[in-house]
Symmetry: C2
Subunit: 305 residues, 2 copies
């Protein structure tokens, strides 16, 4: 696959549907070097997921049965929002641990929502059953070319906005976002995968030499809690740098973003920064670094109480 | 005064001390036209006030007694932060209605803080007494050339970032920020003053033909609650467009910023947007508009509970 072409085509396709998100350089995060940030939590429905959802829906023939998606919450909200915007019916499956903010986001779109027990993997099974029964089109949360190409537009956009970094840190759940980063950047900049110790499907796969099942828990389970890394991501990730961060480091990075810049994110949105603030990834002298801030759907909603 | 020169000099002076804040264009705020935003709540200490505080301290000889400031909260936090950064002692007076988030921000800097009863005007009287007794240098929250020139850098920066708007909407308390806008833009773009009905010192002054005292209340009293408009602002504001918004319209705009973009601001930070979303200011067909998002120090702190 010519990923550069796919991502460029996706960027053209979703222009006007996805939000161009702002970028900044921070010296205020308690590090002795600056960090470029892209504020992708400001995307529609509060995460980068809207990019892949719109790209999928705008590049495929959607059947009369509409679309179906399984999600820890953010992808479901994005798929439901994109379907609503484009006039398609949507069926969304999420685990209960998606939490009230993400569930409310999905409900607001008018999508047909089912909350299942267990974790993301259980929602995926239910969504696959629904797909088989109804003929609805599955929008996979991370392991589909249209999803990966959509997420890759985030990095194309960032480069057009003047990204300077040698190294870009990206949080990993199922691997759709980082696959997009690897597919677009193709070695021109280093990409570092950041996973919580409590949900580290890519790290485990890189160690095992193949995708393997991992257990999923911790404060980011409703965003990064994929049991197995996506095959597209795994194919692109060979030889890449992968680091792990603790839940405590993630919570600390989350506080730093708020205290330094009034950027309020869900824990997963701070995971990539946590690799820097915890020292899990130490830049070499002079190495310029950037962090993709990926999601802001914190629970409880701070304005809903 | 040659304001363009003053503001350009201020911008050079505060470079590296103030944060360059990001900009974006939103189509997601429930309006049928796009709105450019500058996210100045991401500034150090959560508001534009750091610009004026740094400019003042970097352009004056600070006496041994250090600096003193009176504030509804945001200016005090900025003055305390700038003083801490530059190594000066700071004495800050705020009214109790500054609230726990702003008071905590000031305490974190190590400044000597006094919380007084009443409103901002009472804190100002106490700060003036302290200035007279100790010889400390007063950093006025809005009615001093160094403060206005510092706030003006916000608009110089925005233009350098590609501001397209014909019209820029700015919230007004004592008038330091909008004075900076008027002083920099000098008619090249229209500036619209937005005040809450509950604290409208500029609107009252424009109607009376001179600064007059107003009563101060409502949800933005700890940010826009000046009893009388600053004389610098009043001198620059002749003939300008001034609109009022209700507290309910401000709360609605605050929710829209969060729901559309995960931008969490204090009520005052949403006041300028409220002029658009409430219809208090209706752009002409084709008129391009921009909103300065000015402050994010919401109470309670969403991560402190």
């Amino acid at each position: 696959m010519n990923w550069k072409n796919e991502i460029s085509a996706a960027a053209d396709r979703i222009a006007g549907y996805a939000q161009v998100t702002p970028v900044m350089e921070s010296h205020a995060l308690g590090l002795d070097y600056p960090v470029e940030l892209k504020l992708e939590q400001m995307q529609h429905t509060g995460s980068f997921k809207a990019r892949g959802a719109f790209n999928t829906l705008l590049s495929m023939d959607v059947p009369e049965a509409g679309v179906v998606a399984a999600s820890g919450g953010n992808h479901g909200a994005a798929a439901a929002y994109a379907a609503q915007t484009l006039g398609y019916p949507a069926k969304i499956f999420v685990p209960k641990l998606a939490g009230p903010s993400k569930i409310a986001l999905i409900e607001q779109t008018g999508a047909d929502l089912s909350v299942v027990s267990g974790e993301y993997a259980n929602a995926l099974t239910a969504a696959q059953d629904h797909e088989a029964q109804t003929g609805a089109m599955q929008i996979h949360a991370y392991d589909a070319p249209g999803t990966v190409a959509g997420q890759g537009t985030c990095f194309a956009e960032w480069e057009a906005q003047g990204l300077q970094a040698d190294t870009v840190l990206v949080a990993v759940g199922g691997g759709g976002l980082i696959a997009g980063a690897l597919a677009w950047l193709q070695g021109a900049r280093k990409v570092v995968a950041v996973e919580p110790e409590t949900s580290c499907a890519l790290n485990a796969a890189l160690q095992a030499g193949e995708p393997v099942d991992v257990s999923v828990s911790g404060i980011v389970a409703n965003a990064l809690g994929a049991r197995r890394i996506g095959s597209i991501c795994f194919g692109l990730a060979q030889g890449m740098t992968s680091v792990l961060v603790s839940d405590a480091a993630i919570a600390d990075a989350q506080k730093r973003l708020w205290q330094a810049h009034r950027i309020l994110v869900e824990p997963a949105g701070a995971a990539a920064l946590a690799a820097l603030t915890s020292g899990a990834y130490k830049p070499a002298p002079g190495e310029k670094v950037a962090v993709l801030v990926c999601g802001g759907n914190i629970s409880p909603d701070p304005l809903m109480g």
